[in-house]
Symmetry: C2
Subunit: 329 residues, 2 copies
């Protein structure tokens, strides 16, 4: 990897300066019921309250901001492009709009309607394609050829990963003592950024990933030592986690992740109902895989000694009309 | 009215001491989208995060606490009873449990299942009856005769009203400047308590009620100058507001309320979707009538000059499975 492209504690701290005043310092909430059910003290970092409805705004804002700085004084001539299962597209669209930059987003047809609507409401242009890696790559190339837009990858770009890492800095300030942090894994950009911060500052804190069983590319990668991917995206209700683990994130996850827990679709549904009913906050299915993980028997078996656990609730963008489907087990 | 039973700024301040450390100082949140839609700056007091899932815990805790104090050293021999459309029952059940007191609650059969479940989870006993004033009175009498429980009315008891009034004290501390406050009205106990505080400390702040058009007993009372009630409860989706305005609350509302806004069922549904989607918090239909009110044309016409408006989101107890019905307009 190019040494300039490495994500470090310093690049995350720099990102935190860039984001200062532009992101929500999201609250950390607790819930007695979930503490009781999990048998430990849980600290929930509520990125569902972040701008654009998820943590993705952090990385997107950092990347766009640095691109604009390097480009000079005419950001309105700039165009950016990325593919996304939804939330990164929304974050990029909002970040681009705030910088006066045009954004193009390629999104699978089966992404939630609310994410498409949100993206369009921030003035981005949307191109849809089949939910498969090859189709996305082809469509991306077409949009890039037609527009000349700069590609800001949501999984691979070091400025995006560093932006996401700022959550790690915030949590260390907000939660006095914790033994472990559980982070949802889709492309792994969030887990990478957060893990760099935690392992730099508090290497004794365990860094855990959580993902759907049906989209277990990160868990299989970590156990085999080789990056595994799905040629056609899985269909978990945790729609934000159906993408493949990225090449760059994998290099950090391989070094920094202590374990990756997988959870069933029913465990995700159960966790979602608990968070909605007990914490009274709106979280999307992808956001609760960490909750499902800390409630699981595997967690008790493999991380039972962790008494104080930070859990990232990654976003709150979901189609409310799909609620019955999400609640049916 | 008996002078000892009057709700004053002092009785509310005393309630605040009693509640200190026992209630959640609920956060005040803002939302750019709702500011834009309403054309004013809105401050949402999030009582959906209150213990037992609604503001009702405040009044219930204060009343039980004072009853226990006056009763002496054996609260486990005490029993309390009340009727409720749901949230007051949950608040009373939790408050009683915390004091080691047995609670009995009479609830209409059509109250939300989640409220019945919550009440039972706090160890209270539940008796159901038809949703009509006469049936409730009869059933209450039967339970009282059978148990000898002390009646702690959710609408009429001055300790309950004073407990609810503590929200007014908190908002005045949390929001630097506001021109008006909008409070949902069911029995009017919340509006009474809050209005006493606001009109005592900042009489220039407008105190507004909000209620469903189909349950407009408070609005009709205020415009006619006579307390109006429905013999059989209305059937608004804002289930917590279907009860009649109380005798005691009416005495405060008549003096203190500047206006009462009514909203349609569709306006309630629209407000609920906005709060869920944009604020990412779970609120029940009754909680958003204030939001619906500030978004309405009537509000623009009758309160347009109020630029900074506090709005109480009263609770978050709802049957998630009913979401499709709540979203369908």
């Amino acid at each position: 990897m190019d040494a300039n492209n490495i994500v470090t504690l310093e690049t995350v701290q720099k990102a935190a300066s860039t984001l200062s005043g532009n992101v929500v310092i999201t609250p950390v909430q607790t819930c007695n019921t979930l503490d009781l059910l999990s048998g430990r003290r849980l600290y929930f970092k509520c990125e569902n309250f972040q701008k654009s409805g998820s943590f993705k705004f952090r990385g997107a804002f950092n990347a766009v901001s640095r691109l604009v700085s390097s480009y000079g004084a005419t950001p309105h001539q700039l165009q950016v492009v990325a593919s996304s299962t939804g939330n990164y597209g929304c974050g990029l669209a909002m970040a681009a709009q705030l910088h006066g930059v045009t954004a193009h987003v390629v999104m699978p047809t089966n992404s939630p309607v609310c994410k498409k609507r949100t993206l369009l409401s921030y003035g981005a242009s949307l191109t849809q394609c089949e939910p498969a890696a090859q189709d996305i790559a082809q469509t991306m190339k077409q949009v890039q050829d037609a527009t000349g837009a700069v590609f800001l990858s949501g999984s691979e770009h070091p400025d995006v990963i560093a932006g996401h890492g700022t959550m790690g800095l915030e949590i260390l300030q907000q939660v006095p003592n914790f033994d472990a942090i559980v982070v949802p894994v889709g492309t792994g950009a969030m887990l990478s950024g957060v893990s760099v911060v935690i392992k730099s500052l508090c290497p004794e804190i365990r860094v855990y990933g959580a993902e759907p069983e049906v989209a277990n590319d990160a868990a299989r990668s970590l156990s085999s030592g080789e990056r595994c991917t799905f040629p056609r995206f899985p269909q978990s209700i945790a729609d934000g986690l159906n993408g493949n683990i990225g090449v760059v994130p994998w290099t950090y996850i391989r070094s920094n992740a202590d374990d990756i827990f997988t959870v069933s679709e029913d465990e995700i549904k159960n966790a979602m109902r608990l968070v909605w009913e007990r914490m009274k906050i709106v979280v999307e299915p992808s956001a609760v895989v960490g909750v499902a993980a800390v409630l699981s028997d595997s967690f008790k078996a493999r991380a039972g000694e962790c008494k104080n656990v930070a859990v990232i609730l990654s976003g709150g963008n979901m189609d409310l009309d799909k609620m019955p489907e999400y609640l049916q087990m």
